[in-house]
């Protein structure tokens, strides 16, 4: 009998670590070769990892939520023969395990506990300590207003306090000499941003705070969204589209659809419009590597379909939309949405989009400001269809209207080009026949 230490294999380009989503085995279980043992979450997808050997599980090297480095030990399995865990490689694993943990089979591994994350003092509590200061926006004689890009001036204590409150001093006016930001300036800024708490109307205040660890998919989403919003200067553009005719066509096609065909939503039509419009505006169908300053422009159109799942937002990808018929697209969208919702989408299905569309479905509102699915440079969202009175040929007529809300990476896409693309899509959707005049439109 020997011990086989299974290390987390390389599960995708550039991924240094992955999070344990769920163990499918426990210590003491007998596993077969190729049996799925754990789901690992990477930046994009949940990947099932299979055991390369058969044997008895001796040790799990982390719990759900733990990050495991690629190449780091994942599980130790007792196998027939020598195993791979010789003294010169990993030390004596059995001894290793027992030296860190009690012999209790329930808790065979010492699992690192996360660093305590003291809840940051809420801004309110922090500023209560100091008497409410009247905002002094006026700059004293010694000071000059800060020029753009000039570093704000403040003592280390004030800078620390601003950091802990998550306030960027660039936005705080300084009233001290040379425009220095005083403690009072910061307090005034904090108070100004809190809004006056309304006095109690005879109802009990609820002081409770629930601490929720942000892990798993939600952590991915949080990081991705923060990075996208922090790094990408978003430019939003909203336009309304008259979809009366398109809706009539959609209903007509759906009424005639065969059983083996998926029901058409608005999305395949939008995808179809993109297939025609995007080659005329190639800069939007791209991925921007802003560290290398390289824009990768694609001939293919791989459309990300932002999909709400029980765990949060996921973006499966319709590969090569340019080569698909309307019905194929409808089928693809349905299949991908189902895979995403049930958590079964593969890594390939979740990576490589070049442009993303998003829809809030029937809840879709009037307008939204979608966040770009980095490193792409654009995202187009559909809002809810509503019947509205419109003037058409001098007549007030009920028309079915739907807004398109889009965001673009302003580093790459100019406002004019974004508008031109959306106008082109609007034209195609308002005259649905042109969606199908390949080579003639």
């Amino acid at each position: 009998m020997g011990i086989y230490t299974f290390k987390l294999p390389d599960i995708g380009e550039g991924i240094a670590e992955a999070e344990i989503a769920e163990w499918k085995i426990a210590v003491g279980d007998v596993v077969a070769e190729d049996q799925g043992i754990v789901d690992m979450l990477t930046d994009k997808a949940a990947v099932e990892i299979e055991s390369p050997v058969g044997g008895t599980v001796k040790e799990l090297c982390g719990e759900a939520g733990s990050m495991i480095a690629v190449g780091g030990p994942l599980v130790r399995i007792e196998v027939e023969g020598d195993g791979n865990t010789a003294v010169e490689d990993d030390g004596e694993p059995v001894e290793t395990a027992s030296s860190t943990a009690p012999a209790d089979p329930e808790t065979p591994v010492q699992i690192p506990t996360p660093a305590p994350q003291p809840a940051p003092a809420p801004a309110a509590a922090a500023s209560q300590a100091t008497p409410p200061a009247t905002p002094t926006r006026q700059v004293s004689s010694g000071g000059l207003p800060r020029k753009a890009g000039e570093k704000p001036l403040a003592s280390p204590a004030v800078r620390r306090r601003a950091q802990s409150l998550g306030i960027r001093l660039e936005y705080v006016p300084g009233s001290g000499p040379a425009g220095r930001i005083t403690r009072q300036d910061l307090d005034a800024f904090v108070q100004g941003h809190q809004g006056a708490a309304s006095p109690g109307a005879g109802r009990a205040a609820k002081p409770g705070v629930e601490e929720i660890r942000i892990i798993g998919l939600r952590r991915r989403i949080a990081t991705a969204m923060q990075q996208a919003k922090q790094r990408i200067p978003h430019f939003a553009y909203v336009e309304e589209v008259d979809v009366t005719e398109l809706e009539a066509l959609r209903q007509h096609l759906n009424a005639q659809r065969r059983d083996d065909q998926a029901k058409l939503t608005m999305l395949p039509f939008l995808a179809r419009a993109l297939v025609i419009a995007v080659p005329e505006h190639p800069q939007v169908n791209a991925r921007f590597d802003d560290e290398a300053d390289v824009l990768h422009r694609y001939d293919a159109l791989h459309i990300g379909i932002a999909t709400q799942t029980p765990g949060g937002l996921v973006v499966p990808v319709m590969q090569h939309a340019e080569a698909k018929s309307l019905w194929d697209m409808a089928a693809d969208i349905r299949r991908l949405a189902e895979a995403a919702r049930s958590g079964k989408a593969s890594r390939e299905e979740l990576t490589g989009s070049t442009l993303t569309i998003t829809s809030l479905g029937a809840m879709g509102g009037i307008a939204s400001t979608p966040v770009i699915n980095a490193p792409e440079v654009g995202i187009i969202g559909v809002n809810k269809m509503v019947q509205r009175p419109m003037y058409l040929g001098g007549q007030l007529t009920p028309r079915l209207m739907m807004n398109l809300s889009s965001s673009f990476d302003h580093r790459i896409v100019d406002g004019w080009d974004a508008a031109a693309l959306i106008q082109r899509i609007k034209g195609l959707l308002e005259h649905p026949a042109t969606l199908f005049m390949e080579g003639e439109a």
Partner: protein, 465 residues
């Protein structure tokens, strides 16, 4: 023997970056393990800042005593010339190092940091294996790793360390004084040590490939140092390259051709390089910034949960910068929001006389597009400086923006000026303007008065000059 540890924070490197990070992490209640292959304290404590300053002090004391031989000085006469015993000085220095080394161990213990002695090799970003003396191995698994592996002296191709070719580390451990020493490289480490050996009585020549000594300081600040060298028979050769050493002869190249310099030791101080080899950096998927590890303004590397601090992340390669980064990273790991955003990192050159400064020099301010006023105050006009024989050729210089009088830099050259840097950097960090400095009463008689006077000079009304 094999052992395994799992911890929240793993610090690799026990220099002023690593041990400070570990102490702070421990104070914050994080389970912390510190690994170092050598003695605790790193370059700074064992073979850098502290030992070099100890020997500089011993050398200066010996040099000062010599003034009192014969005619005497300050009314003090020594009937007999003093003698210098380098072995004795090194022994005394080792005592200081040992004391501080024990102090660091005590502080780590108090902060409940577990110290593992041995060379760490990373397996991945979250784990490493430490091979200790006597064949022990320890596997360490961590949620956060802090890389603080520091830096090493750079070798010249034709002059590998060993034998009579010394690194700064070797120079600080010499037991016998070389008769003739050539220092290669006129940066701060070379000048500090070269001048110390000159004071001890060695004949010292400095060869420097460029046309500048102490390149991080401007000509006004460096001039008193050059004067000292001239007055004390220290030969400085610019635009001269050292290429090889054999049989007591150092071969140097100049525009005029090759030349031989006879010497019994060669000290090579041509810079330091980040220590990025031999510990498994290649196993981590980490972005680099030239030879250094790339970090953002919170010292996070491109790999989440892997941090790097100190010399290994770049200039300035100074102990206090390493410590400040270490303290910050520990606090970030404990959940505090922090950024590394000093307004200035002060620096001192312990030459004769000392050069000290924080922030921008007038030239750097101009280069940054600032319109500045400059106030200079000579130490010759400072009473305390004269009473300490520190009044020669030194000065304090304040640089401030012309429009709002914000202090952007303060520099000084002169005996003992290193102790003024606290006030300099404090003024800059607090965002002081010239009027603030002018409004502060300094003790009389102290050298601090010259800081006040330099601010007054910038405002156009120095009292004593």
């Amino acid at each position: 023997m094999s052992d395994a540890l799992s911890t929240q924070v793993l610090v690799v490197g026990g220099g002023p970056g690593g041990y400070v990070a570990a102490i702070r992490a421990g104070q914050l209640g994080l389970k912390t393990v510190l690994v170092d292959a050598d003695q605790l304290g790193g370059t700074c404590l064992i073979r850098g800042c502290i030992p070099s300053k100890a020997l500089i002090h011993a050398a200066s004391k010996f040099d000062a005593l010599q003034q009192h031989v014969g005619e005497g000085a300050l009314g003090i006469r020594l009937p007999q010339a003093p003698e210098f015993d380098l072995g004795g000085a090194v022994h005394w220095k080792n005592g200081i190092v040992q004391k501080l080394n024990g102090g660091v161990a005590g502080l780590l213990k108090k902060a409940r940091v577990q110290v593992v002695s041995g060379w760490a090799r990373f397996e991945d970003g979250k784990s490493c294996i430490v091979e200790g003396d006597g064949g022990t191995t320890t596997h360490i698994q961590a949620e956060h790793t802090i890389i603080a592996t520091g830096s090493l002296p750079v070798e010249l191709p034709g002059l590998p360390f060993g034998g009579n070719v010394l690194s700064s580390t070797d120079a600080l451990a010499l037991r016998a004084l070389p008769k003739r020493l050539v220092v290669v490289g006129a940066g701060y480490i070379g000048m500090e040590l070269g001048m110390a050996f000159r004071k001890m009585g060695a004949e010292v020549t400095v060869v420097e490939a460029t046309d500048r000594m102490l390149p991080s300081y401007d000509a006004d600040l460096v001039k008193p140092v050059r004067n000292w060298c001239r007055q004390h028979g220290m030969d400085i050769r610019f635009e001269t390259k050292a290429v090889g050493y054999a049989d007591g002869q150092l071969t140097v190249q100049t525009a005029a051709g090759e030349e031989q310099l006879a010497c019994d030791k060669v000290l090579v101080t041509v810079g330091r390089r980040p220590n990025t080899q031999g510990w498994g950096l290649d196993r981590l998927v980490i972005d680099m910034n030239g030879p250094f590890i790339k970090v953002d303004d919170s010292c996070q590397t491109s790999m989440r949960g892997v941090w790097a601090i100190g010399d290994v992340v770049g200039e300035p390669m100074l102990a206090h910068k390493a410590s400040a980064q270490g303290e910050m990273v520990a606090e970030i790991i404990a959940g505090q929001r922090r950024k590394f955003d000093p307004a200035a990192i002060p620096a001192v050159c312990f030459t004769e006389p000392e050069i000290a400064g924080a922030g921008l020099s007038p030239d750097e301010a101009h280069a940054a597009g600032l319109d500045v006023v400059v106030g200079n105050f000579p130490l010759a006009a400072n009473g305390r400086a004269l009473t300490m024989e520190a009044g020669e050729s030194g000065f304090v210089r304040v640089t401030a923006r012309r429009d709002n009088h914000l202090i952007v830099g303060v520099h000084a050259v002169g005996a003992h000026v290193s102790e003024l840097t606290g006030a300099f950097v404090q003024a800059i960090e607090m965002g002081a303007v010239l009027e603030d400095l002018a409004g502060i009463i300094q003790v009389h008689p102290t050298m601090s008065e010259s800081f006040h006077e330099a601010a007054l000079a910038a405002l156009g009304h120095a009292i004593h000059a």
